[in-house]
């Protein structure tokens, strides 16, 4: 028997080698950037930095070209602006904050390869001679050159990185870059839980113009953000609570459940408030996971569309119709044909409920004929959930979609903004 115990021990050793990856985000510790004399950048400076850049040093990691775009997060009276760099390679992105130090512009942050856990610090400078003087004085610069270093993990960055301004970003007035589950899945190892308020705050920095969020309903009728049908260790910190999420009251979930990568399960109301008042996001896809009546969902959608309009904020909120069960509930709603909705079902069903958006899965292909038919009827077409830079490039170049839902919104952002 001892051999079998020995084998069991060895086998358990092997099986215990399962690696639990943590979201990698390097510590922001550039002393020059954090020094007291460094001040925030004026908006006109930020706007002029946006654009398509040629990567002169660092193209092995970031590709030959990159798109740079600002986004923001508001918390109370504070607004944090972030400059994101979107690369064509492996959904790599950089997220930076900017400050002015004397006559230079400092950009400090980190890079991340979305498909794995590679990351590192990034420190860039636009010197006075390389365009900062013009940018800080609201004058068009002859050229803008960002130069500095990047590194791996938490090491001091030492590898040269420089970028030269090439042209403005492609104008985006109507194409939707949608981030899956509020910004990304837990499996993407981002520094926030999927479908959390913190993830929603990150989404625009990943390049998103909007988010898809999953909506369940608790036992006491509260609409919440959660993907799976049950409480499980993929999404929450183990606490002994199991079974269908709809069996719990919101008070129970709020008091007892911690999301896997931090944060609480948010209500849909909290999520919409966050989107509306703390981010530049303009599109919300409510992926309907609840099984019963959609009346509460419709009421909240209507309320927030009105709030957005009253605040002069462009925000579209669509009720997703992913299954026939949800379709049955949706058609019970009064005047359902006038409700902003998004149908994942076939073309005739989409037409029958007068959905504003048709959302076929990318695995159905480009479907040019059907897409044209939908667009001729005034509907938009958004495909999901499209990942992989090659696939994204193909669908953007060969298809005629109005948006893409992705786990890699940064890759969609690069290919959209860089397209001439």
């Amino acid at each position: 028997m001892k051999y079998f115990f020995l084998t069991a021990v060895v086998a358990v050793f092997f099986s215990s080698c399962k690696r639990d990856f943590e979201p990698p985000v390097p510590v922001n510790d550039w002393s020059l950037f954090l020094s007291a004399p460094a001040t925030s950048l004026p908006s006109f400076t930020r706007n002029k930095i946006e654009g398509i850049y040629t990567v002169r040093d660092g193209s092995i990691l970031f590709g030959n070209q990159a798109a740079m775009k600002w986004s923001y997060t508001k918390t109370g009276a504070d607004t944090v602006f972030q400059l994101s760099l979107f690369s064509p390679l492996d959904a790599i992105y950089i997220i930076l904050e900017g400050r002015r130090l004397n006559n230079d512009i400092l950009l400090n942050g980190y890079w991340r390869r979305n498909v794995n856990v590679e990351t590192g610090k990034v420190r860039l400078t636009i010197t006075a001679a390389n365009g900062a003087t013009a940018l800080l004085n609201n004058v068009t610069a002859d050229s803008i050159i960002l130069s500095g270093v990047y590194g791996n993990t938490d090491e001091i960055p030492e590898v040269a990185l420089s970028l030269k301004y090439l042209r403005p970003l492609r104008n985006n007035t109507g194409f939707e870059i949608l981030a899956h589950r509020g910004g990304g899945r837990n499996a993407d190892l981002l520094p926030a839980s999927e479908n959390s308020l913190e993830m929603i705050r990150l989404a625009a920095g990943f390049g998103a113009t909007g988010v898809e969020i999953d909506v369940h309903q608790t036992r006491d009728g509260e609409l919440i953000l959660y993907h799976d049908a049950t409480l499980n260790e993929r999404l929450i910190v183990k606490n002994g609570m199991v079974g269908p999420i709809e069996n719990y009251s919101y008070a129970q979930l709020d008091a007892l459940v911690q999301l896997k990568r931090g944060g609480k399960i948010p209500t849909l109301r909290q999520a919409l408030q966050t989107i509306l008042f703390q981010t530049p996001l303009r599109f919300v896809w409510l992926d309907t996971k609840l099984t019963g009546s959609l009346e509460n969902l419709r009421a909240l959608q209507k309320e927030f569309i009105q709030i957005a309009n009253a605040n002069g904020r462009q925000l579209q909120i669509f009720i997703g119709v992913p299954t026939k069960e949800v379709l049955n509930q949706f058609t019970q709603l009064p005047a359902y044909r006038n409700i902003p909705s998004l149908s994942e079902l076939d073309v005739p069903t989409t037409e029958s409920i007068n959905a504003n958006i048709w959302a076929p899965t990318w695995t159905q292909g480009l479907q040019t004929e059907e897409v044209n038919r939908m667009q001729a009827q005034g509907r938009s077409v958004i495909t999901w959930t499209l990942d992989g830079p090659d696939r994204i490039d193909k669908f953007l170049n060969e298809g005629s979609f109005n948006g893409i839902l992705s786990n890699q919104p940064s890759a969609v952002a690069y290919y959209f903004y860089a397209k001439q």
């Binding site: 028997m1 069991a8 695995t363 696939r391």
Partner: protein
């Protein structure tokens, strides 16, 4: 998370150990020359060795999400003696809708009556065709598994094998309908480590019980998920076989 996983796995191993322990009680002390083995790295003493059984691989939730499932596959494993130390190792792993076949040479030598080792290289081809909710998907791929095994023979004909493999993905072609899916993969896409026991069972048959820890960024049985992760995920695999 880890403690739950360990408890679950320990339960599984304990169950299998009970099966094995009953076999041990009746195991007779026979020389290695008369013993059958399929994984044990030792020069073959039979012209052919055939094993049938199954493997069960647990898929990681990182790609299966809420559907945390274990996929069994029927296994046919054949060794053909080619020379004193050389043999041909062939294997069929079948799930009907997706199957894999591998073949490759194995060179084995023994250091003593107890210790032995082998070197091998298996080239595998997998193919699958699945209708996913009305969408016809299909895929094929090539992989290569250079491997090394060390064996230790215990007193009562219990053969312990420790095997390490490198996983090389040579090609992947998958289609969703008529859309070719450009599945990303890396050449050196992981490694696998096996611990296995073999011993006489009944009626001149032998039993194989093994555990294979697979760390890979591309496990062929997950081709329908079209995932684009480039980091190694853990696929624990249980191996059970009867050597005929």
């Amino acid at each position: 998370m880890l403690s739950t996983y360990l408890a679950r796995f320990a339960k599984k191993v304990a169950g299998m150990a009970i099966i094995f322990s009953s076999a041990i009680t009746y195991a007779q002390d026979v020389p290695i020359e008369n013993q059958k083995f399929i994984l044990f790295p030792h020069p073959l003493n039979h012209k052919w060795i055939v094993s049938v059984g199954f493997t069960a691989t647990t898929m990681p939730t990182a790609i299966t999400e809420e559907a945390h499932f274990r996929v069994p596959a029927a296994e046919l494993h054949v060794l053909k003696k080619l020379g004193k130390k050389l043999s041909l190792d062939g294997r069929l792993s079948a799930q009907v809708i997706q199957n894999a076949i591998s073949i490759g040479p194995r060179w084995a030598t023994k250091f003593s009556e107890r210790l032995s080792m082998s070197l091998g290289n298996d080239v595998a081809f997998w193919f699958g065709r699945i209708n996913l909710g009305g969408l016809k998907t299909r895929g094929t791929g090539w992989q290569n598994f250079p491997n090394i095994s060390f064996g230790y023979r215990f007193n009562k004909q219990i053969l312990l094998t420790l095997k390490a493999e490198s996983i090389m993905t040579l090609n992947v072609k998958t289609f969703a309908g008529e859309t070719e899916v450009q599945t990303d993969y890396t050449l050196f896409s992981g490694s696998a480590y096996t611990v296995a026991l073999e011993q006489p069972f009944f009626h001149k048959k032998s039993l194989t019980l093994g555990f294979r820890a697979i760390y890979t960024s591309y496990f062929w049985q997950t081709w329908t998920l079209f995932e684009s992760f480039d980091r190694n995920l853990f696929f624990p695999q249980v191996i059970i076989g009867v050597i005929l």
